[in-house]
Symmetry: C2
Subunit: 198 residues, 2 copies
């Protein structure tokens, strides 16, 4: 499992041959129980590493296309699984998340609209790290991109959700589920992306 930009944030990745990008999962290591976001299948090595880091208490699924290995990880660890409230009909979860909910102290839910699934979640970790699912992604390193138009259910709403994120000056790192993370200047990368739709 790779160290990300903080001592307490780890990640693991899987190269996707269809898109030629890495898919990513994030683990926030906390004294009161770790949180995994959109967990991909784990190698034996990373599974052992996860246990060394304290396993996982909570799994957050940002959207129904990112269930990935959530079910098997929940079964193996006993973690609760939380998903977007707008996808109750599509997902099996132990709890549902709405905009403004606090998953654990320091991890706040934002609901994004207009993406390919209803009410996709983004997560803001201690005001400085934004974790996104599918709407905000990165197929070119160091920049951020919106999901392509044909996949958006409502582009105007998607851009509005993007603008909301771009107006949060505290964001430093943006960790998309799909494509290169932006560890430095993530807020600027969001602003640059939003400016494309002005």
């Amino acid at each position: 499992m790779k160290r990300l930009h903080r001592d307490d944030i780890y990640g693991w990745s899987l190269f996707n041959e269809g898109l030629d990008i890495d898919f990513h999962s994030v683990l926030w290591v906390r004294p009161d129980g770790n949180v995994a976001i959109d967990p991909l299948p784990l190698s034996d090595h990373d599974r052992t590493h996860l246990e060394q880091l304290g396993s996982v208490n909570t799994i957050v699924i940002t959207n129904s296309d990112h269930t990935r290995a959530s079910k098997s990880l929940a079964e193996a660890t006993g973690a609760r699984v939380l998903g977007p409230a707008d996808e109750r009909v599509r997902l099996e979860c132990d709890g549902w998340l709405n905009d403004g909910d606090v998953v654990v102290p320091g991890l706040t839910v934002m609901t994004l609209h207009g993406s390919k699934t209803p009410g996709e979640l983004a997560l803001l970790l201690e005001d400085t790290t934004l974790i996104t699912g599918d709407l905000i992604r990165a197929h070119v390193a160091g920049r951020l991109h919106l999901l392509p138009d044909p996949k958006l259910s409502d582009k105007a709403k998607a851009v509005e959700s993007l603008r909301r994120l771009a107006n949060m000056p505290s964001i430093e790192a943006v960790l998309p589920g799909d494509g290169w993370p932006v560890f430095r200047g993530g807020g600027q990368a969001l602003a640059d992306l939003a400016a494309e739709f002005d």
Copy 2:
């Protein structure tokens, strides 16, 4: 093969379980023949992708610990292999590189000192992208690190080489062979690292 920060730069990676970081290779796609740096073994998918991008004419090895899959790639493609002149005794190459040499137009060699091998190479691509081997690395995302002290042959010389890089304000991206690339603010990351040794 992943798109990096420019249309003409690609990369592929391999997670190293011993260090819990990704190892990286870089491909610069050029009309006059592509250049690969420190090539790792390629998956069938990436091997096909490489052929679609025009295969490879030149392989550069930054140091003798980064030969990786250079030999088999050279055999498969007919590419010439270039390595650090200070490692003539350790490496089999078709040609040798010294500080200031131009591999192909736009790709300039810098020789670094004090690392674990003599005369390790760094490559400066069109003044803005720095590709490093082992001396400059990144085990924490968004930051750069020097090889640990016990591995350095001469720390003062290593820091001097680092300072030379940190004094090049044109650098925007730093792509280490080992650990997270810094696509935004790479020059600042070099300056931050150099400042640790003031």
